[in-house]
């Protein structure tokens, strides 16, 4: 039979039969072996043939060992034991000679028996139902088949695609559209994370898909999601994260789509200027602007602020019970604006000082990029406003620090003017934030240490004594509380000047040293990405690269503390005479009230903590 010219079936040669017989101690003659071999082959074929019907009836495509055993059992043959594995057994060739065998690895039973991790049981068989096609119309985008964009992919990529979609979407193909899951924060979060990993994948050229990514992220930022209806849902975090993601997309892939920045700004502006939109949308817009950088804030948020403020104030002024929820939302917006504005001022000051030092090229990417964008979107720049009464304090000291700087040439609104106007809205809390943040926020660009010092000194010995007296106290309490007792609420009363001054210096030194340490440890690579990182609001979203994780975690806690204490602080100091008779001063009187509301504050903390974890 070995002489057969054509092999139609697998055959067992008589040599094998003889070997098998010998292994059991039987000597076979050549003839018998030949006959046996032939018969064995036939029986094998027969059994295989019969086993296929068991496969068919089990509605499978793959013949299993179990099927074969069934066929053997029904033909009164002993079954083959020991091969009933669910997975396919690899059939391996041996290099020497034509030998194939099934890999049979040894399993250490002792190890298995003494293992501490008990294997999980199989998941429960369950049935899940979903509407696949409505009125037969779903065929346009059939379930399981891929959208047209993906159809041109190669086999491997297609598999990859299926794996991904399965991992993200689970069993439900209708998650494809963000809108359909706007009630499910978890799903949205998952989608956002998917977007993030897409963006971060250095091997992926997104091309025109950036636009669609951006649009879905924008959706998460701006839309009044169904999930927002329930106040218990932490959709704020989602918006924060989406905003962060937006800026990330923009800074890494913005060059792929022309005019993207402009478009984003426009849409954000539209939302912001639309009073009908719910506060959560406004919040999203502010956060989005903030994430896009201080330039964006300056160009869009700042000019809109006067108009918007009235709306916000109206909400905040309403003390009725029915308004409580809206008001809480209002506080969120307020906080977001505050953070954004603070960043704006700080960065502006920073850029000025940089310019003053002649280190314009210090951050070439940021600077030129920002300038370029500004030129693109000149129409958005606010018209220069006349300064009603420039406050001396900060403007003067900044001017002093950056003497002779050419900042007026490339900013439409002067920093003092801006500060002045903003101060009229936010009152002292702005000042508080402005002056306290740089040391805390950490990671100022390397060139900024000097101006920082320079700014601090005039701050302590400024002409405006009221201001200076307040600010050090604030900084001190802020710095100390998380560092020393960990709880910002431990000092509800304003500490006395005498007590805080040493504390401040202590905290300052420790924090600055830690900052510098962390910076030195992060070293080169950290710097190289600074272009985009500087855009991030550091104080709110400290990136893990900046310092050890423990450090950033504390910042989160402190953040909250600072904000609420800042306001509370303001409370006790309300009688302090204001700078002058600025009309918006009236707003500032309201702020204490804001500070006392505990609920939104609490949520802030949550959001910050939860934000840290995914990063």
């Amino acid at each position: 039979m070995t002489e057969r010219e054509e092999r139609r079936f697998a055959e067992v040669p008589r040599e094998s039969i003889k070997l098998m017989a010998e292994s059991t101690g039987v000597e076979l003659s050549e003839e018998v072996a030949t006959l046996l071999a032939e018969d064995v082959c036939y029986r094998l074929r027969e059994a295989t043939q019969n086993s296929s019907q068991f496969m068919r009836h089990a509605k499978r495509r793959k013949l299993s060992v179990e099927d074969f055993n069934r066929a053997l059992r029904w033909s009164n043959t002993e079954t083959v034991c020991g091969y009933g594995a669910q997975d396919a057994l690899p059939f391996r060739p041996l290099k020497e000679g034509e030998l194939f065998f099934v890999e049979d690895r040894e399993i250490n039973l002792v190890e298995l028996a003494l293992a501490t991790n008990i294997p999980k049981g199989c998941a429960e068989t369950m049935v899940r139902v979903h509407v696949s096609y409505l009125d037969g119309k779903g065929n346009l985008e059939p379930q399981g088949t891929v959208p047209t964009a993906v159809q041109s992919l190669s086999e491997d990529l297609l598999k990859y695609y299926q794996q991904i979609t399965r991992a993200i979407l689970g069993e439900d193909p209708h998650l494809m559209k963000v809108k359909s899951v706007s009630h499910d924060l978890d799903q949205l979060n998952r989608l956002l994370h998917m977007v993030k990993s897409l963006v971060q994948n250095p091997y992926l050229y997104l091309g025109s898909y950036v636009r669609s990514l951006v649009s879905s992220v924008m959706y998460c930022i701006l839309e009044p999601l169904a999930a927002s209806i329930n106040p218990l849902n932490d959709h704020w975090t989602l918006r924060d994260y989406a905003a962060l993601l937006l800026s990330h997309i923009f800074w890494t892939h913005g060059d792929l789509v022309s005019g993207l920045y402009h478009q984003i700004l426009l849409s954000l502006q539209k939302v912001l200027s639309d009073p009908v939109r719910p506060l959560c949308s406004h919040y999203g817009a502010v956060v989005g602007l903030h994430a896009l950088g201080w330039k964006a804030v300056e160009r869009v948020l700042y000019p809109h602020l006067p108009a918007y403020w009235a709306n916000l104030q109206a909400v905040l002024d309403d003390y009725s019970v029915s308004n409580a929820q809206v008001k809480a939302d209002g506080h969120k917006v307020y906080g977001a604006i505050l953070v954004a504005v603070e960043r704006l001022l700080k960065m502006k000051a920073l850029s000025l000082t940089l310019a003053a030092e002649g280190g314009c090229a210090g951050l070439p990417g940021t600077a030129t990029g920002a300038v370029g964008f500004r030129e693109n979107s000149l129409g958005l720049s606010p018209p220069p406003e006349p300064l009603s009464e420039p406050p001396l304090g900060i403007a003067s000291h900044l001017q002093a620090g950056g003497a002779g700087c050419p900042w007026e040439e490339w900013t439409p609104v002067s920093l003092p003017a801006m500060y002045c106007e903003l101060y009229s809205f936010f009152g002292d809390s702005l000042a508080v934030r402005f002056s306290t943040d740089p040391p805390l926020g950490g990671a100022p660009p390397s060139g900024s240490r000097q101006p920082l010092e320079g700014r601090k000194e005039p701050a302590s010995g400024a002409p405006n004594l009221e201001n200076t007296r307040k600010m050090p106290q604030l900084t001190a309490s802020m710095n100390i509380s998380p560092r020393q007792d960990g709880s910002p609420c431990m000092e509800p009363q304003p500490p006395s000047l005498a007590a805080t001054v040493p504390g401040r210096s202590l905290a300052r030194s420790s924090s600055s040293s830690s900052v510098s340490r962390s910076r030195s440890s992060s070293s080169r690579p950290g710097r190289s990405t600074s272009q985009s990182r500087d855009i991030f609001p550091k104080a709110r979203f400290p990136l893990p690269q900046v310092g050890p994780p423990a450090f950033s975690f504390i910042i989160g806690g402190r953040q909250m503390g600072r904000r609420c204490q800042g306001r509370r602080f303001q409370t006790s100091f309300t009688p302090t005479p204001p700078l002058t008779t600025l009309p918006p001063r009236a707003y500032a009187h309201k702020l204490p009230v804001i500070g006392r509301v505990s609920k939104p504050v609490r949520r802030w903390t949550c959001s910050h903590y939860s934000l840290h974890l995914p990063l």
Partner: protein
């Protein structure tokens, strides 16, 4: 006996093997119906009673001789006594009595044959598995023993081939049908006579000429190379036990006959005489496509007279039930709702009208269970639901809900929904049956007896009280089978569930207590499918033993055995009027059986692969069948004709279902798609044709693409089951296949 020359005796020799296969079926059927003639058995048709008796006697004599030769004197005695044969009868034919001493195993075999023969004569029902290995009685097996020169086989065959290729085109297609059966029989003869190398050469030379749809059979055939292999091989058995049926026009047949006689090609002529049945018809020879559409089954086409029996395919008259209009829902649409309801009833069920459907069977042709109050309630519910039914059509396709089985680990083998779509049952390869409630209503068991005694039986909500709240859960697992569960079926009243399994049993489960009530044993081999009658009480099962059985819930033995298929019965379906049962088989035929007398009333050939799904249209007129070849065939039951072929699926079709009104046919397949077909159009187009019912030759329009209304992909989930809810929402089920 050994060397048979003349025709009748040859027939005997062959027949001696055949009764074994058919005897069970015939005897059982005859047991049920005294006068019933089994039209499906090709052999009993010809000879009259006297001839049969003679043949039986000859068989007996042959057996006696064998027994004597093997010195089984006691058996000889018994046989002689039971058969009432005189010693002289046998002596007259006896030759040398000293054969080679064979073992006792053969004696056992002979005994089994003996017992069978005796049973045949007593006409007692016997449910022995039909495919029991054949007894090694050389005399009986000698059908192939006579032969010509083995080296001439190739010459014979190629001579015929040359002739057929040279005839006129119109005859060539018809005569080409001869190739396959001739080829197989000649090959088997060679193998039987130990001409292994010649058989192989023969196979290699001519196997390529055969039609592609016979490839599977050829593969099995070419694995047979030894005489020993012939024993117990099922495919061989099929060939030997049934005559391959060819349908040839008279002209073509005359042509063939003349040719063979001129050439004195007795070898081929003998085979044609013995193993083939040529169904000669008058008229135009058929075209190649006509032949191809009908051929492909294991035993050739169905003979025309087989499908002549009258089939009462109409629906039974629905019982009159007064619909109470107390619902505010009904009152709201009283003016509109009522006429609409009547209209839909008439449309959907046809038989709702006063007068009896002319094609319907007698109302009491099959005794049906009385309607209980709960059934009436359910009917009312059904009517209410059907008023809200969506009218489907090519422009109005159904929505599809997919029930995906997760974590089933490849084990899902069968699915069924209740008619009201409230429960879902799955049969699994791990021998379990699981029942899910797909409505918010959870599954509850009845309380234990002790607890039941406490209940106030007079209270209004006693039905609610007997349920044990503690056991409420979304799903229940039913343990009991010892092999994969291949079929599940809910009873129409939702109180019972049937499951059929590889372990050879059909089990009846109570959905009140979620326990097994009965295990019906009868199929001694895997039971592939089972289904409840639309009226409950009866159910049908079919399995590897090649028979379908009809059972009643309260009988532990089958009421009818439908025997005739040449291979496994893979799927079974009840006709909507419960008077007929359709079975699909691995022999690539669909058969329709009359429940009343157990007769086979239709044999439908045309599939090229095992049939795995069947569906009756709601009006009972049509049947759809799907097979492994990925085609759906549509049949007109009344005429026994194929009326449509739906091509498109690329893998086995496991699910077929008509929409509630019959406008849409849904098919679900291994290829992870659900396809919707315009069945109305398919049926209409044929009916407008001049129905070639007399000849049975059909021209199938190749319009699959026009009839395909939609193709819907699942996400790597083969579709195992399809179901239309009462409002025409399409439910599909399958297990997610992660590979």
């Amino acid at each position: 006996m050994a060397a048979v020359q003349d025709g009748p005796k040859e027939l005997d020799a062959e027949k001696e093997t055949k009764p074994e296969i058919l005897s069970d079926g015939t005897s059982n059927l005859l047991g049920n119906t005294a006068s019933g003639t089994l039209s499906s058995s090709p052999l009993t048709a010809a000879p009259a009673g006297g001839a049969t008796k003679m043949e039986d006697q000859q068989t007996l004599i042959a057996v006696l001789q064998f027994l004597k030769r093997n010195k089984l004197s006691e058996s000889v005695e018994i046989l002689r006594r039971e058969a009432g044969l005189g010693e002289h009868q046998e002596d007259s034919q006896a030759t040398d009595g000293s054969g080679g001493g064979k073992g006792d195993g053969d004696g056992g075999d002979a005994n089994s044959l003996l017992s069978r023969v005796s049973i045949t004569s007593a006409a007692a029902p016997q449910s022995m598995p039909v495919k029991k290995d054949q007894p090694d009685v050389s005399v009986v097996l000698s059908a192939y023993s006579q032969q010509g020169d083995p080296s001439l086989y190739q010459v014979y065959y190629s001579g015929l081939k040359n002739f057929i290729e040279s005839v006129l085109d119109c005859h060539r297609a018809e005569l080409s049908q001869l190739f396959y059966p001739l080829f197989v029989h000649m090959y088997l003869e060679l193998v039987y006579n130990n001409h292994e190398t010649k058989a192989k050469a023969f196979f290699d030379k001519f196997s390529g000429d055969q039609e592609c749809y016979y490839q599977d059979d050829l593969r099995i055939l070419c694995s047979l190379t030894k005489k020993e292999h012939l024993k117990g091989n099922e495919v061989l058995l099929d060939f030997r036990t049934s005559r391959f049926v060819l349908r040839i026009s008279r002209d073509s047949y005359q042509l063939l006959k003349r040719h063979l006689q001129e050439r004195h090609n007795n070898q081929i002529w003998n085979i044609i005489q013995e193993h083939l049945y040529i169904d000669i018809f008058d008229g135009m020879p058929r075209s190649k496509s006509q032949i191809d559409s009908m051929s492909g089954s294991l035993a050739g086409e169905a003979r025309r007279e087989v499908n002549k029996a009258k089939v009462f395919y109409g629906l039974l008259k629905e019982p009159e039930i007064e619909v109470p209009l107390d619902d505010e829902d009904d009152e709201a649409e009283n003016e509109e709702g009522k006429p609409k309801k009547k209209k839909t009833k008439k449309d959907s069920l046809g038989s709702k009208s006063k007068k009896q459907d002319p094609n319907a069977p007698q109302q009491n042709r099959i005794p049906l269970p009385e309607l209980k109050d709960s059934d009436k309630l359910d009917k009312i519910m059904y009517m209410k639901e059907s008023t809200k039914r969506i009218r489907l059509g090519p422009e109005n396709l159904p929505s599809i809900c997919f029930y995906t089985f997760l974590n089933a680990f490849q084990g899902l083998t069968a699915v069924d929904f209740t008619d009201d779509s409230s429960l879902l049952a799955g049969g699994f390869a791990d021998s379990t049956v699981r029942v899910w409630s797909v409505t918010p209503k959870k599954l509850r068991k009845v309380k234990s007896t002790a607890e039941l005694n406490v209940i106030d039986k007079e209270s209004d909500d006693v039905l609610e009280r007997i349920m044990d709240e503690k056991t409420a859960s979304e799903s229940k697992i039913l343990h009991g089978h010892s092999g994969p569960v291949y079929g599940v079926s809910f009873s129409p009243d939702r109180n019972y569930l049937l499951s059929s399994s590889e372990d050879g049993t059909v089990r009846l489960w109570s959905l009140q207590t979620f326990t097994c009530l009965v295990g019906y044993k009868g199929h001694n081999y895997p039971v592939w499918d089972t289904q409840f009658s639309p009226f409950g009480y009866y159910f049908v099962s079919g399995g590897h033993d090649r028979v379908a059985r009809l059972w009643a819930m309260d009988h532990y033995q089958p009421l009818r055995i439908f025997a005739g298929h040449l291979a496994d019965v893979t799927c079974t379906r009840f006709h909507p009027n419960s008077n007929y049962v359709a079975t699909g088989s691995t022999d690539r035929t669909v058969r329709l059986w009359d429940v009343l007398n157990g007769n086979c009333v239709r044999i439908l050939t045309g599939h090229k692969g095992p049939i795995h799904s069947l569906a009756f249209s709601p009006n009972g007129k049509f049947l759809a069948s799907g097979s492994t070849d990925g085609r759906v065939l549509l049949w007109d039951i009344g005429h026994g004709l194929m009326i449509g072929e739906l091509k498109g699926h690329t893998d086995t079709i496991y699910a077929l279902k008509f929409s509630r009104d019959g406008e849409i046919l849904a098919s679900g397949s291994m290829d992870n798609t659900v396809r919707l077909w315009d069945s109305m159009k398919a049926f209409d187009e044929v009916e407008t044709d001049d129905f070639t019912a007399t000849t049975g030759h059909i021209h199938l329009p190749d319009n699959s693409q026009e009839l395909l209304l939609g193709m819907y992909h699942s996400k790597s989930t083969p579709v195992t089951h399809l179901h239309f809810t009462r409002r025409n929402l399409l439910l599909a089920a399958g297990t997610y296949n992660s590979q």
